[in-house]
């Protein structure tokens, strides 16, 4: 995640978080319908994480817990983490949670590692046993990170099976296959 150009890192920071403004801010509008050219203290809105984080560092806003980490999701994860549809809630559940945990709620860290431990086992089983067609429904529930894991396991297993089956050892250079055009 340290890579500046990491596309997942960039997309992850686009996730919205609910914030409460701690200060009045001039010259910006969060709501088109208001007449005033400023944001009042105590007004609530949702901002993308990258903006909320910067404002939070300047103590202009306080960040509250977004819906994907609310009480309802927590209960669902405690009940059966493997079946929770995390993708529709937040495709970057883990990375987002890690960034968010120190800013608003430390207990998110625990939730993440608990959820990952349970879901990891599920991914492990499905990745090495299930055929691809049967797994597609299960794939819909996975976050980005889990999908990468799943694909890593599948592709190395496939490569091994292909090697074991054998097949043509020598690859034909693509140029050799071409037929010469009939001279007309």
């Amino acid at each position: 995640m340290a890579n500046y150009y990491d596309i997942d890192g960039i997309l992850m920071e686009e996730e919205f978080v609910p914030v409460v403004f701690q200060k009045a801010i001039n010259g910006v509008n969060i709501d088109e319908s208001t007449e005033k050219g400023c944001v009042e203290q105590g007004s609530k809105t949702e901002l993308p994480f990258w903006l909320a984080h910067e404002l939070h560092m300047r103590q202009a806003v306080s960040i509250s817990v977004p819906t994907c980490f609310n009480q309802k999701t927590r209960l669902e994860i405690q009940a059966d983490a493997a079946c929770v549809d995390l993708r529709s809630r937040c495709p970057y559940f883990y990375e987002f949670g890690c960034k968010l945990a120190p800013l608003c709620d430390k207990s998110i860290g625990l939730l993440l590692s608990y959820a990952f431990q349970i879901r990891y086992k599920e991914v492990l089983h499905k990745a090495h046993t299930t055929a691809f067609a049967a797994a597609s429904k299960f794939l819909m529930l996975l976050t980005k990170e889990e999908t990468y894991l799943y694909e890593a396991a599948q592709s190395s297993m496939l490569a091994f099976k292909k090697w074991r089956m054998g097949g043509p050892r020598l690859q034909r250079a693509s140029i050799l296959g071409r037929k010469r055009k009939p001279a007309e």
């Binding site: 001039n26 050219g37 103590q59 430390k106 590692s113 894991l149 396991a153 297993m157």
Partner: protein
Amino acid sequence: MAGQSDSTMSLFSSEEIEFMAEDEMTEIVPNLRMDSLNFICGDYGPFLPQLAAQVPLWLALALKKRGKCTIRLPPWMSVENLTRVLEAERDSHAFQPLPFHYVEISRLLFDHAREDIPDMYMVRSLIEDIRDVRFHKVETNLEKFTASTVTWKNMSAMEVNVIRAFAGRALQAFYKHDNEQQTPDTDRAMDKQPQIPTDRPKRNLKPR
């Protein structure tokens, strides 16, 4: 070498593992007379008919393809030994000691030196069974691991390679989540410091 075939994932392909396995020593019985061969990796020979010699597997296979030798089955590939190993694998949780490249060596021998293996079908199915049992063991082990130390003895090259990408990613994630709990992100605390909010009184702008 790693990542020659797949630059993004820094993995060995199965073919690369097979290539490495070909450096293992095997015993052959040549049927020709030949002076010793001098290679960068060492000198082999001289070869005399009916006198066993130790050569790397790739050389053994090259000679075999030309019909210049028979390959002696390595002792671990005997039916008795494999039966014993299979039983031990089924009984215990630990991996039994087998050559590091047993999957690749056995496959190469099955492909190229069929007629040198007595009870070829028996040996092949035993090795398939051993591999399946061991792979199932790998999976149950994977299920148990967390970010703490992982010690599995006697895993073979191919078994490691099949789970390399998956296990690497999973360990990284475990490590990240475990650390997240213990140290609440020190570098974030660092970049918070220099920005002391300046509480200047603000003029309210006139609404436009």
